[in-house]
Point group: C2
Amino acid sequence: MSATETLAAYVVNDDGTTIPADVWREASRAVLNYLGCAIGGSIEPALDIAIDTFTPFSGETTASVLGRRERFDPLHAALLNGIGSHVHEFDDTTPKNYIHPSIPVASALFAHASANAVSGRNFIHAFILGFEAESRIGNAVYPAHYDAGWHITSTAGVFGAAAAIGKLLGLSKRQMIWAFGLAATQSAGIREMFGSMAKSFQPGRAAQNGYTAALLARADFTAGEHALEGPRGFAAVTAVEYDLSKVSAGLGVDFDLRANAYKPYACGLVVHPAIDGCSQLHRTYQPDPETIVAVRLRVAPLVLDLCNQRELRRALQSKYSIYHAAAIGLVRGKGGLQEFTDEAIADPRLARIRQCTTAVADQSVGEDQVGIEVELAGGEVLSLFVEQSLGNVHRPLSDEQLEEKFRDQAVLALPSLQVDALIEQCWRLDSLQDAGALARTSVPGAGSNASPAAMR
Amino acid sequence: MSATETLAAYVVNDDGTTIPADVWREASRAVLNYLGCAIGGSIEPALDIAIDTFTPFSGETTASVLGRRERFDPLHAALLNGIGSHVHEFDDTTPKNYIHPSIPVASALFAHASANAVSGRNFIHAFILGFEAESRIGNAVYPAHYDAGWHITSTAGVFGAAAAIGKLLGLSKRQMIWAFGLAATQSAGIREMFGSMAKSFQPGRAAQNGYTAALLARADFTAGEHALEGPRGFAAVTAVEYDLSKVSAGLGVDFDLRANAYKPYACGLVVHPAIDGCSQLHRTYQPDPETIVAVRLRVAPLVLDLCNQRELRRALQSKYSIYHAAAIGLVRGKGGLQEFTDEAIADPRLARIRQCTTAVADQSVGEDQVGIEVELAGGEVLSLFVEQSLGNVHRPLSDEQLEEKFRDQAVLALPSLQVDALIEQCWRLDSLQDAGALARTSVPGAGSNASPAAMR
């Protein structure tokens, strides 16, 4: 069987009973992490503009947009969920292919579930299958595809959304093959858009387009049946080298979801080790920031290539400053959204630490590592070497850390009580009769419907 | 200035006064040809499925779909116009880049004009600019882009739709640059889908996506500002070789619209010379088909590679049969949509000519050429060599031939009187106060509003 047919058959036929418990659990963690990103990002101007622009074009407003009061048809809700969940760039990553995998899949699923009857179990099952389809297609074309300039989160993500929604719509194998064809037809998004609103538009559009592909396929709108492996198919057209055996190898046994990574800090990945290590020193020794006289870092050379900014004028710059990274770790012990605001860059305690921090490039330090020395006024030196940065696959965020991250994001849009209710509801998503309750509880003013009784 | 900025500045600043009269006239011809394709294709199942699927997702139904009674929001109308106008594969071609250029641009424009106040002159002006933007971007990446497997009609077409709608929306230069970025972000469509409904979906989606790009850009949704020339931009990502100087060379002076070609026959291009030549013999000598005992063709080798089918079981096969091509030319003197139906392949007069036709490959015969000998029962031999096939840029269809083609297509969906009114209205589109009248006259049952008074 071809790669396209093999994957379609798997998605259509899998009944979830052989998916291991740890994979189900990781799916809940990924959904929690996704949902926090979507709610936190819902306050951003990019989403305001998109909502204003698309309001006249929405069909019947049966669907919720995560974090927002405005309602849309499910296809637009998928797009808007995708923009909101990526705009802070705080979402998850599969390190082997650099896909931010949850956005396209979960954005479509939340939109669909908010407007249609979907059980929690079916929601998570579809999420797992969509995630796997997307990540395996990504594996097959990575790295040539990414290196060419494709934003692999959207180009592979559209297949994930098609698989997940197609599963919930009950497509036949032939229809799922067409859905993959219609996904391939719409696969798009280039890295040239990084740094603009168009970046978060891309995975949103992938969610919407994959959802559309599944709807059309269900109605027998035909497509080419070799979307992945055809001579003019997705792999051949978008990657100079590819290996489609990665789509099927270990299918149903090995799950990429197990290697999913969640960002602990709302900034560029390369400064994560410094925030991690400095936060550890903060927690362990609780040094008074006023007593810190020097911070000396040994970092991977890439860090100075990308993040050698000490003078910060705009909030965005702080996400790419190794000096700011050290400061927030030592002073605040965290790197949440609040640590990269205009308020944060103006904080005199942080500014002072940035000024007394130095960083040297060291070839022997890996990109997940950092060496830290903090010299105090009394002459004492606190030191630490981070071998594996928090959030990578060898040191994943704990459930509690994910919850803390979720709160940090979600309180931007929702009251604390509602945030707590969402966390509780998310952990038992697989037992909810109506997964859409989670989407509906994620909007401002849902308090009256967010009682535990209504959520079950 | 970069290619992106140069093109954006041209589209934004051009006031139309320096566009030569022949270009304006060719635009009317292209629009007439487009409109016939859209109305003729409106009866196809692909459009029925798409309309059923998208009905629940349409916003306020302010826009017309060409050839259909159903109404949609303008973005969906753009998509549906695009599916309908390409599904018969009877639309125009710019031979230097193999783009079918009118679909993405005109599909968006008709959708927009049906719902918004747009003068005929502004409609044609936007069409010319959109056509030029799309074709020049296509020139820059052709042939490497097409050879890689991209369906260049949709991948370049999305820029044309963005330019045309962006012009009507009055974007600033910076917004037009963003619109091109948002178009690049959505540029998609692969040749693997040829032969399925997904093929006509691609230029439809390009129309819708380009329109969306312009709407978002107007609202200051930002995008990367080097959509075309950036290191991860459209050209570098989708073509191993490209020449962006083709975007700006002769801009405002040379117009690709002048080299636009219209298909005279509703079938594969390679059998066009045979239909043309046999139709000429039919008109000149009016031979009784019963008296034809042998037809001998000398054809380009490619013809036998692609169209060597004598026994026809499905209507679609007849579009790729050199024997059927000779038969319809000699018996009917034309190759319209009716010549490639189940009825046509069952016509015993055509079947007899197919049986007595032979074709030999001859390296000296070009792909626009054919040698024909028709032997009659009395021993007489009619012969002709076609040097330039009708419809190519050296022997363009006359206005009357375009009208005949339009009628042949449009009568599938509309009554004859309405078809005549549309032709009359289309030729004077540039003087219409309301270009949307043309879209609204293109739907079944529009008769009561289609009086000459209402059209002005």
